[in-house]
């Protein structure tokens, strides 16, 4: 398996989560496991917001491209044409999800 970052990855900022995990004195492997679940939570929630706002007739094309090239920056450019302020929506959601994760890590 090779790792691929989805095209929204630059809008997800997890520095505070890393700091919180460091504060807990977790080992590298444990931090890695928790960060993996954290990233998955971001990905699920972001995909939900995209699918919720994307017009029905645009979905199949988006999903086809995403399944082949989930990292492709052009996907964001395409979404911007179909969903107003999608970048801002994702950024705001990512902050919200980060807060929820940090609350769980208290």
């Amino acid at each position: 398996m090779m790792k691929v970052k989805p095209f929204w990855d630059n809008l997800v900022e997890i520095r505070e989560i890393r700091i919180k995990l460091d504060e807990h004195g977790l080992g590298r492997r444990e931090k890695k496991k928790l960060l993996k679940v954290a990233y998955q939570t971001f990905d699920i929630r972001i995909m939900e917001i995209i699918l919720t706002h994307l017009p029905e007739e645009k979905k199949q094309n988006f999903l086809n491209t995403f399944s082949r090239k989930p990292h492709q920056a052009e996907l964001m450019a395409s979404l911007k044409e179909d969903i107003a302020d999608i970048e801002e929506k994702i950024s705001a959601l990512a902050k919200e999800v980060k807060k929820e994760i940090l609350d769980q890590l208290e």
Partner: protein, 297 residues
């Protein structure tokens, strides 16, 4: 942090993830099934399968032919490394590893810090397929890079003598017991696993851990027979062992001790009988990694 605390945190974050996934399935199940048919499944979207290529024996030419989007730099480097290693003899791989590690090591002995500690662990994980780390379950030694010295055999059970040890009798046997006492209460209760533990043991400086005197019982239990991997940084030779003694004293200038067999496998059993090594914890909860030398091929 105690392991149960990690589990507790993991459960909490996992619950959040599961809730989000359930919500996504309820609202957009059709879209998820469409993606699954195309080979992309939530929540594992950050993984792309390349196994069919690697399993088929990738060549550099095939790798170069991959479309650019399938060649993230780090992954391409890993695959190239495998391709490269496939055609190398064990001695060449050891040299290759020693050179790679040398680039990442600090000038002086001590803890490995910063980004290099992860790079070093990942390098060994990739090549040796052993999960190693310098900090496991919040526990970390004062030194992860230091000098190892030659130790004697340890008494495994009451009445054990040097002549009963089958190898490296030239090392002699320590007059006292290891920090954790005998390996078994009697010769009859010795098992093959315990024989291997004495054969491949290390001594680490638990007594100098800052929290040793406030958490002695917990730390003593944790370190007893803890599995580690020792790597000779000059030659790349590696050996898996367990912690079975405390030491050496700081005045010796050494930070670790190795059993006669460990030192032999690291090629440090002759001459000054010491050398610079990396010492990792092995994350092996199912006890699948055997003790002894690691063969690169």
């Amino acid at each position: 942090m105690k392991k149960k605390d990690f589990k507790h945190l993991h459960q909490k974050v996992n619950k959040l993830q599961k809730k989000a996934l359930k919500n996504l399935e309820e609202k957009h199940g059709q879209a998820l099934r469409h993606l699954e048919k195309k080979g992309l499944s939530f929540p594992e979207i950050r993984k792309f399968s390349l196994s069919f290529l690697i399993g088929a024996g990738l060549t550099a030419a095939v790798l170069m032919a991959l479309p650019e989007h399938l060649q993230p730099k780090v992954i391409a480097k890993q695959v190239q490394e495998r391709v490269h290693l496939k055609f190398m003899a064990e001695e060449e791989i050891k040299k290759f590893m020693a050179e790679k590690v040398a680039d990442l090591l600090p000038g002086a002995i001590g803890k490995i810090t910063g980004a290099d500690r992860d790079k070093i662990c990942q390098l060994f994980e990739r090549i040796l397929k052993v999960d190693v780390c310098f900090n496991l379950e919040g526990k970390e030694l004062n030194f992860s890079f230091g000098w190892i010295g030659y130790e004697q055999h340890l008494k495994r059970y009451p009445g054990d003598t040097l002549s009963q040890h089958d190898e490296e009798q030239v090392a002699g046997i320590a007059p006292g017991l290891g920090a954790w006492g005998y390996f078994a209460p009697s010769k009859e209760e010795m098992t093959e696993e315990l024989y291997q533990m004495e054969k491949y043991y290390v001594a680490v400086q638990t007594m100098y851990l800052p929290e040793w005197y406030t958490q002695t019982k917990e730390l003593s239990q944790w370190y007893k027979h803890r599995k580690v991997m020792v790597v000779n940084t000059e030659t790349g030779q590696a050996c898996v062992a367990v912690v079975a003694d405390a030491g050496p004293a700081s005045w010796t200038g050494k930070q670790f001790g190795g059993s006669p067999e460990v030192m032999k496998e690291l090629d440090l059993h002759l001459g000054p009988r010491k050398g610079k090594v990396l010492l990792f914890f092995v994350d092996d909860p199912d006890n699948k990694v055997p003790l002894g030398p690691i063969r690169y091929n």
